[in-house]
């Protein structure tokens, strides 16, 4: 009986957590934030033995509707978010690796672009994500292969509503930015239905003083008589993004749950001009459009000591890139017209089997079949006929794993994962991962963790087949990663809670793929680098009841991530060996502070990235300098509760100190800007 209770509690823990988060977000205005009892070591899920994981709570994910997952990760984790501007490509990278070393899943289905390998997090509205976690380094092997840096797990979940529900949020911000969010829910004992929609639009023409360029003032003879740094607007940076998410869940109440998630994206974004562009914005159009549909159907069958799950999914992506210029009389002619379509079919089965409270066995098999059609350029052949430069390829990606997790005593656990992958016709060797954890001290719940794994990442379809430049002879990247760390948790329910962790990691990556220019004028990928990435990650979380109705929450992260090129010199003059990889910060940190009083909430967000080198030699030139990056945002929210509805009003200030800064060379970021959000949640009784 005791064993059954324990198994039941193990299975129930995630659902209790869900319920807690729902409580946090919906009722904080009325009841204030709740400081939970700290988790004791005995409650550690056996599934998570030895894993290094960062989970995001609903407060972070649902902070405001204008945020993308890129924004959430920037201010709530220490992984590196490389942003090319507001509502522009944003990629994330763990522990000194590259964005394509981060595997991303949504409801279990991999959503990395199979052509590029990476994921654009600016295209994922955080309001569409109910559950997000980072699996650092080796821990990603539990979920997928190829995450040489780690993986990001995103998912939705039932709203747990009863009857009809509605939430509408309107956001209005600087630069004529409008964000609208609508959610309709319906739920009863068996059904949970939810429809969410987000529409964001802005000309995004923020002003900045251009330090990279001067405007000339000429006299009549065209002699320069004056020069000045112009105040320019972000030229050609507008965007219109629509997201619709439909979810239907059915719970039999007898251990079976069915789910259907369908997400449609329609994005139309201009690509902003560089600071060093001397073209007239009205004469050029540089635009990227995307339509994506992602759908996942899932079935979970849960019994007292085993669980079976199956998923089927489909992704369709259409992307268009148009670069045009006015050739006179307002006629815009294509300089580049590229189109690509991706069809991905997905299937997955997984099972879990508990033997007593000490053993858990899992097995997982997933298949992603990609069919890609890339048309990059229209040309006229030598015979005068038209032709398209591009490629059409398909590739199955199979990934399977089995694991055994053993916790002989409450204080100690060990887990072994064996994974194997096949991309196309090529198999990886067995990918092993070993995890252990143990309680060092019951006082303070001090837990030690360690893990080691091998991993591989296959070249992307563009790496192999893109025309021109694709290199079908590329080898897959491979790596070993080691992790070890300590965590603790102390607290008193309703008074305070303090948790923290520190971990050390080390990765050796061989055959790192990099695209380089060729003498023929195009880029081509090569396996050129061996990289040794290592460092420290620290996390801390403090919640304190300061006084009656006053509560303070502080959350901080810090990473030190040297990522060193340890390959052979490329030529005798190569100065990059032994140096930090370009565009990878050695230090990064974030702090979020939330102060609440009754139905008021004040939020302070801060993030930091150390200087990023723009050259592999780590030399800092006058034209290639990216100084350390600090950012501070604040917001103040007031909630109102009436019989007929919950209302809230929130004001936010981004870039509080109006810093003039760059995240990437020649890409200016906006100065101080403001947003206001109004939210209404009617009560249907």
């Amino acid at each position: 009986m005791r064993q059954l209770l324990l198994i039941f509690s193990i299975l129930l823990v995630p659902y209790l957590a869900v319920a807690q988060e729902e409580y946090d977000t919906k009722d904080w205005a009325r009841k204030g934030l709740h400081i939970p009892e700290v988790a004791v070591y005995g409650n550690r899920p056996i599934k998570e033995i030895g894993t290094q994981q960062t989970k995001f709570d609903t407060l972070a994910l649902k902070e405001n509707i204008s945020l993308s997952m890129a924004d959430v990760l920037t201010f709530n984790s220490a992984i590196f978010v490389k942003s090319y501007g507001r509502a522009t490509l944003s990629t994330v990278a763990f522990r000194g690796t590259s964005p394509s070393h981060t595997q991303v899943s949504w409801n279990g289905m991999k959503i990395n672009n199979p052509m590029l390998g990476m994921t654009d997090f600016s295209m994922i509205p955080s309001y569409f994500i109910d559950d997000a976690s980072l699996l650092h380094g080796t821990s990603s092997v539990n979920e997928t292969g190829g995450g040489l840096g780690g993986s990001v797990k995103l998912s939705t979940k039932p709203a747990q509503s009863r009857g009809f529900g509605l939430q509408y949020v309107q956001g209005i911000g600087s630069f004529k930015t409008f964000d609208e969010f609508l959610r309709l829910t319906y739920g009863n004992d068996h059904w949970q239905v939810s429809t969410r929609a987000v529409y964001s639009s802005s000309p995004n023409d923020y002003k900045y003083r251009n330090h990279d360029k001067k405007v000339n003032v000429y006299d009549e003879d065209m002699n320069i008589i004056d020069q000045y740094y112009p105040v320019e607007r972000n030229r050609s940076g507008s965007y219109k993004d629509l997201h619709i998410l439909q979810e239907v869940y059915y719970n039999t109440g007898k251990g079976d749950r069915l789910g259907l998630n369908a997400w449609y994206i329609n994005s139309n974004r201009e690509l902003a001009m560089l600071t060093v562009d001397h073209g007239d914005a009205t004469d050029f159009e540089n635009r990227q459009r995307e339509q994506t549909f992602r759908g996942v159907f899932s079935w979970d069958h849960v019994r007292s000591n085993w669980k079976l799950g199956a998923k089927a999914g489909y992704i369709y992506t259409w992307m268009a890139y148009d670069y045009k210029r006015d050739v006179g009389n307002g006629t815009m002619a294509h300089m580049t017209r590229s189109r690509s379509q991706i069809n991905t079919f997905y299937g997955q089965v997984e099972g879990e089997y508990y033997i007593g409270s000490q053993w858990l066995f899992t097995a997982n098999l997933s298949l992603h079949q990609h069919i890609v059609e890339s048309e990059d350029k229209n040309i006229v052949r030598q015979d005068g006929n038209k032709a398209v430069v591009g490629y059409r390829k398909g590739r199955p990606e199979l990934s399977g794993s089995i694991s055994a997790k053993w916790r002989p005593i409450d204080r100690f656990g060990v887990s072994i994962v064996l994974r194997e992958e096949m991309f196309g016709r090529e198999w990886t060797p067995i990918i092993p991962a070993l995890f252990v954890d143990g309680v060092i001290s019951e006082r303070g719940n001090v837990i030690a963790k360690a893990s080691v794994s091998r991993n591989f990442r296959f070249p992307t379809l563009n790496d192999l087949y893109f025309l021109p430049g694709g290199n079908p002879d590329l080898r897959k990247e491979s790596g070993w990663t080691y992790d070890t760390g300590l965590s603790f948790a102390v607290g008193k329910e309703g008074v305070y809670s303090l948790t923290g962790s520190a971990s050390w990691f080390e990765s050796f990556i061989k055959d790192w793929i990099i695209w380089l220019p060729t003498p023929k004028g195009f880029f081509s990928p090569e396996n050129i680098k061996d990289v040794h990435a290592y460092g420290i990650e620290l996390k801390g979380d403090l919640n304190v009841a300061l006084a009656k109705e006053w509560q303070l929450g502080l959350n901080g992260t810090f990473s030190w991530t040297p990522s060193i090129n340890v390959g052979e010199p490329r030529t005798p003059a190569d100065q990059s060996v032994g140096k930090q990889l370009p565009y990878v910060p050695k230090l990064s940190s974030s702090v979020t502070g939330r102060l609440t009083w009754r139905s008021w909430s004040f939020l302070y967000k801060w993030c930091y990235y150390s200087e990023r080198f723009t050259m592999s030699s780590n030399d800092i030139s006058l034209t290639g300098k990216l100084p350390p990056y600090f950012m501070s945002n604040i917001s103040l929210e007031k909630g109102f509760t009436f019989k007929w509805a919950d209302l809230s009003i929130k004001g936010a200030i981004n870039n509080l100190f109006n810093e003039e800064y760059l995240s990437v060379l020649s890409r200016p970021m906006p100065g101080i800007n403001f947003e206001i959000f109004l939210s209404i949640t009617p009560h249907f009784k």
Binding site: Q382, A547, L552, F630
Partner: protein
């Protein structure tokens, strides 16, 4: 309570400390008029990063100054510095993805003017003080400009060329005619009448002719890269062509092996020898009937990306782009193949210009 508030205030103060300034440049004064001979190096920088730079090398003192445009003007050169020429003490630097050609004083490096709003400029050629042509990629037009007024004054439309696969490159003048090699997804040299600004003839060569020069005998030289594997335009063994400028006919075709990547055809000062890159550095008399068996400088592990010959001394300068994301290295050899100097410049040194 007060303790917590003090703690919070202290934390906020620490977090709001800032040091992330996007800096302004500081103008430096240069005067290289005394040095006489000098070599400008256009460092392309990385596409879309706006980190192109201009370096200046004094062969007499063997000293190099990097980022001279930025240091003299306190602003960036731009995105992808493609080429440079000098006319009457003014250097014209073509910055491809910045849609601009800068005019600079070649002794002080100070800007004296700029031609803007070009499509994707590659090279500039002067016909007179008030008329020049600027070739483009991704445009089927050559822009006609007035360099005195820094104005675009007209266009030459290239027949049988679409905007999207448009490509005109290097220009060589013979009398009133101008010859231009058409490179990307092209296979021809076009002939322009500079009095009427029209294309009057064209000559088909191999796939993708990359460079164009004219020797002491009024023979044009171009080298093709042969395209690439899988290209719908075709893929063939590259060739070096000698073309008679007067008759506009191919005199000689020197075939390379399939898969070779020859590029960067250059002349020495007397224009009686041509040089090119094909892994190694090659040298050949302009009257030769065969390509030499041995290279002028054999491949030694460097990634040769740019090449120039000193017009006075015959010294050979070769640029090594290394991994394309660090300062490239320029090697200087005497015409007797002795290494005289080497110096670091900017990212991806691709083009040279002699003062």
């Amino acid at each position: 309570m007060a303790k917590y508030i003090r703690l919070t205030c202290a934390l906020v103060l620490i977090l709001t400390t800032s040091c992330m300034k996007w800096e302004y440049g500081i103008e430096e004064e240069f005067d290289t008029s005394a040095s006489g001979e000098g070599l400008f190096i256009c460092n392309e920088g990385n596409f879309q990063y706006g980190n192109a730079t201009l370096s200046y090398y004094d062969p007499a003192t063997k000293t190099v100054q990097n980022e001279v445009f930025y240091r003299a003007n306190a602003m960036k050169l731009g995105d992808v510095a493609q080429s440079m020429i000098i006319r009457d003490g003014i250097g014209w630097v073509v910055v491809n993805n910045s849609h601009v050609v800068f005019a600079i004083d070649i002794n002080t490096f100070k800007e004296v003017g700029r031609i803007t709003n070009l499509t994707s400029p590659r090279y500039i050629h002067f016909l007179s003080d008030e008329k020049a042509y600027i070739t483009q990629i991704w445009d089927n037009r050559i822009f006609i400009v007035n360099p005195k007024r820094y104005e675009i004054t007209g266009y030459i439309e290239i027949p049988n060329m679409t905007m999207e696969s448009g490509s005109t490159e290097q220009m060589v003048q013979y009398g009133k005619y101008l010859y231009v090699n058409c490179w990307s997804y092209q296979n021809r040299i076009i002939k322009i009448d500079t009095e009427t600004d029209t294309v009057v003839d064209e000559l088909e060569v191999g796939i993708q002719p990359t460079s164009l020069v004219m020797d002491c005998n009024n023979k044009l030289w171009t080298v093709t890269d042969g395209g690439y594997e899988g290209s719908p335009y075709g893929h063939e063994a590259p060739s070096l062509y000698r073309i008679d400028a007067e008759t506009f006919t191919i005199e000689k075709q020197f075939k390379f092996d399939f898969g070779d990547w020859p590029s960067e055809v250059q002349l020495n000062g007397t224009k009686d020898k041509i040089y090119w890159l094909n892994d190694d550095v090659w040298e050949m008399d302009v009257t030769a009937d065969r390509v030499p068996v041995r290279p002028f400088l054999p491949y030694n592990g460097t990634l040769y990306y740019g090449l120039t010959i000193c017009p006075r001394t015959g010294d050979v300068y070769i640029a090594d782009a290394i991994d394309y994301v660090q300062q490239g290295m320029v090697y200087r050899y005497s015409k007797d193949k002795e290494l005289l100097d080497s110096f670091y410049v900017g990212i991806i040194p691709g083009a040279f210009c002699w003062k």
